[in-house]
């Protein structure tokens, strides 16, 4: 017994480095260390300058709320679209499976930046005129463009989520549908009580990953001057020389932005993992994507 404890055991290493609270704490410590100790030491200036952060705070808060808004807008939309497309993909009815296949391949094959630019410039052409007049007449053209671009990002993510849901559907053991039928459950009942619950449980793990990607993708809106974190931070840098702070402050700003995104994605993946655990049923193996 003791001898076994004495030898450094060659335990098989974890195949996935799971992100733990320890990691997060380390990140934040390292980030703050960087901002408040290393950079000033190298460039000989003090970062504990309240006035700078005062200025930046306004930009930051506006930007952050913008990002929250876009995430709140795109996330649910992408899940709904992704789920419908994924379901259609596994359908035996070709009216559903072919168009959704086309959709998925189209939106996965195109880079999100291209989709964003296209949507912002030409999206209004695609929206039928009556809808524009009725619902969207109150908005400025620029805002509509950004909104459409956000929708484009949601569609891009939904294509990936469609694949996740498709794999979820196909991972449900084949006999489940038969058993539901044999019991006398009607097709929609079988879907609702047997197939869909299992699909969701199976899809949750890779879905968390995809949500993190979506959050990061909202930064693309900065390319078309959407109101979000990256765009606002970039605006700040425009006025930086004028306000008298050395240009080195850029790095502090970007470090803060990076940390913010890091915290955002971490919370989402963590939140989903908690959801996973809540719905976990032993024996339902997650698909690995």
């Amino acid at each position: 017994m003791e001898i076994a404890a004495a030898l450094p055991l060659r335990t098989p290493p974890k195949l996935v480095t799971r992100l733990t609270v320890v990691h997060l704490v380390e990140m934040i410590l390292a980030g703050s260390f960087m901002i408040f100790v290393v950079l000033p030491a190298i460039f000989r200036f003090s970062l504990v300058s309240a006035s700078f952060w005062e200025i930046y705070r306004r930009f930051y808060v506006t930007g952050l709320f913008g990002t929250f808004f876009y995430v709140a807008m795109t996330l649910p939309l992408s899940v709904v679209l992704g789920f419908l497309m994924g379901w259609a993909r596994v359908s035996g009815v070709r009216i559903f499976s072919w168009p959704s296949s086309l959709y998925v391949n189209l939106f996965r094959g195109l880079p999100p930046l291209i989709l964003v630019i296209f949507a912002s410039l030409f999206g209004t052409n695609l929206v039928p005129q009556p809808i524009l007049d009725r619902f969207l007449s109150g908005f400025r053209r620029g805002d509509i463009a950004v909104g459409l671009a956000a929708i484009a990002i949601a569609m891009h993510s939904s294509a990936y989520q469609a694949e996740i849901f498709r794999a979820g559907f196909q991972s449900v053991p084949k006999g489940q549908q038969e058993a539901a039928q044999a019991l006398g459950l009607r097709p929609w009942q079988g879907m609702r009580h047997v197939i869909l619950p299992q699909t969701f449980r199976l899809s949750l793990p890779p879905l968390g990953n995809e949500f993190a990607v979506l959050i990061k993708d909202t930064s693309i809106l900065a390319a078309i001057s959407g109101t979000e974190l990256v765009a606002k931070s970039r605006d700040l840098l425009g006025i930086l020389p004028a306000s008298g702070f050395p240009i080195v402050w850029i790095f502090a700003v970007w470090t803060v932005v990076a940390l913010t995104y890091f915290v955002l994605t971490y919370s989402v993946t963590r939140g989903l993992r908690i959801l996973e655990r809540k719905f976990h049923t032993p024996g339902l193996e997650a698909i690995s994507l």
Binding site: P173, G175, Q176, E178, A179, A180, Q181, A182, L183, G184, L185, R186, Q189, H193, V194, P197, Q198, R201, T281, P282, G283, L284
Partner: protein
């Protein structure tokens, strides 16, 4: 109770069932034996209409069921089915598996359903496992839950599709015991199996199927000791060493 007349079924070019005709009386226990690919599982699925026969008639309790106007769900409530791979709903506990059909198909209120489910689980010997998930149960236990689940619908007859073929040897006994008790209690059943011991003990009649046709039928003695057809003889000799 159950009668099939001249059932034909093709899967693409494959002629799986070539005119099957037989009947099952109330409280009879029929065992179907035969080599794999002979169409036994397909035949079973034609009876509860999981598979639609190309032609021929299926009668359950005198009602011609494979025609327009008869809802498949109704048919499946008359005849219960137990699968080779159990097919328990993996996201539900044992008792939830049993109550699902009661609450959703039969519309029985929740508390009554739970009571009934408990009785059924006790009947198959799994009262203690009602809150276990299928993954936490052994193969034999899962199959017994599957039997309870099918019995919950109060079917007039039960179909068993190789119920013990996917089980480790030590669990076969417990499932066969449940089935034997069921048969002795008078449940009409059609069982596809390779368990010859069960067939000899429980079956009132045995049907031998090969290549989509019923080659021979008779009592256990007839089939195992005095097979009339050559094919029956060669199959039986391979099974009973």
């Amino acid at each position: 109770m159950i009668r099939v007349e001249d059932i034909q079924k093709h899967f693409g070019a494959l002629h799986v069932l070539r005119g099957i005709t037989f009947d099952v009386q109330k409280a009879e226990a029929i065992v179907i034996i035969g080599p794999s690919g002979s169409g036994k599982s397909t035949l079973l699925r034609c009876i509860n209409l999981l598979v639609e026969p190309d032609s021929g008639k299926v009668f359950i309790d005198g009602v011609h069921v494979n025609r327009h106007g008869i809802r498949h769900e109704w048919v499946r409530q008359q005849v219960g089915m137990v699968f080779q791979s159990f097919n328990l709903f993996t996201h539900l506990t044992a008792i939830e598996n049993v109550t699902l059909g009661l609450t959703r198909v039969k519309g029985i209120p929740h508390d009554q359903a739970i009571e009934k489910a408990r009785k059924l689980l006790a009947r198959v010997g799994l009262a203690a496992k009602e809150n276990a998930y299928p993954a936490e149960l052994s193969g034999g236990q899962q199959q017994r839950v599957a039997i309870a689940r099918a019995l919950a619908m109060d079917p007039k007859a039960m179909l068993f599709d190789e119920p013990t073929s996917a089980l480790d040897p030590e669990y076969i006994r417990e499932v066969l015991d449940v089935m034997t008790v069921l048969a002795r209690e008078g449940m009409t059943m059609i069982v596809v199996t390779h368990e010859m011991g069960f067939a000899s003990n429980v079956a009132s009649r045995i049907l031998f199927m090969d290549a989509g046709k019923i080659i021979e039928e008779g009592t256990a003695e007839d089939i195992f000791q005095n097979p009339k057809e050559d094919r029956t003889r060669s199959f039986v000799s391979k099974i009973l060493r």
